[in-house]
């Protein structure tokens, strides 16, 4: 489809393992965002990519979290040495640029046992 695609849709892993979450944005969207949403809560900003500029990583909660965006398209969010408090839904969004409406994927539900 033409929307934002995230994979996997669900991920269950043991504490201490590393996980990779993938986001395929809408073609042509230069801006890409990662958010975290805990149950019944709002969205917590994690990281923002805009074109070829250096990403805004100010929302990453610890150095266990990292993200990259290859070729200005697909993005991967990596969480190393997962902890139980990392359990949440991780949402990716893309937009045509700064200040433009964001288009969201359905998220990856991450559960850390």
């Amino acid at each position: 489809g033409a929307g934002v695609s995230q994979s996997p849709s669900n991920k269950v892993t043991e504490k201490g393992k590393d996980v990779e979450l993938r986001c395929d944005p809408i073609s042509g969207h230069t801006a890409l965002y990662w958010y975290r949403q805990s149950l019944g809560q709002g969205l917590e900003f994690l990281i923002y990519f805009q074109g070829n500029s250096a990403p805004d990583k100010s929302g990453l909660p610890s150095d266990r979290f990292s993200a990259e965006r290859t070729g200005g398209s697909v993005s991967t969010l990596t969480i190393q040495r997962t902890q139980q408090e990392d359990s949440a839904v991780y949402l990716c969004a893309s937009s045509l640029g700064e200040g433009q409406p964001q288009h969201f994927g359905d998220g990856t539900r991450l559960s850390i046992l």
């Binding site: 100010s58 949402l91 969004a93 409406p101």
Partner: protein, 113 residues
Amino acid sequence: SQQGEEDPQALSIQEGENATMNCSYKTSINNLQWYRQNSGRGLVHLILIRSNEREKHSGRLRVTLDTSKKSSSLLITASRAADTASYFCATDRGYSSASKIIFGSGTRLSIRP
């Protein structure tokens, strides 16, 4: 503290009634956006209102913005069962280097048949 705060946190109304949700924020903004989230899904953009606009309409949705009070409201007229969802406001502070959009915690709207 949250840049955008919605109230009420939860709202239950009868089908056909109007629903009003409010959003307050703290700092100056470039624009304010409203999103809807159905359970288990990503967010869907509803409407964007710029800081120099006071009111916008889209179908059964009406959004107002009062920058002097740093508040916005979302009105859904003639509510339907399909309007049951969480509604979030998002403020865009329009940083020149990293335009982060800050989401509130949302209003959970339930429409009773």
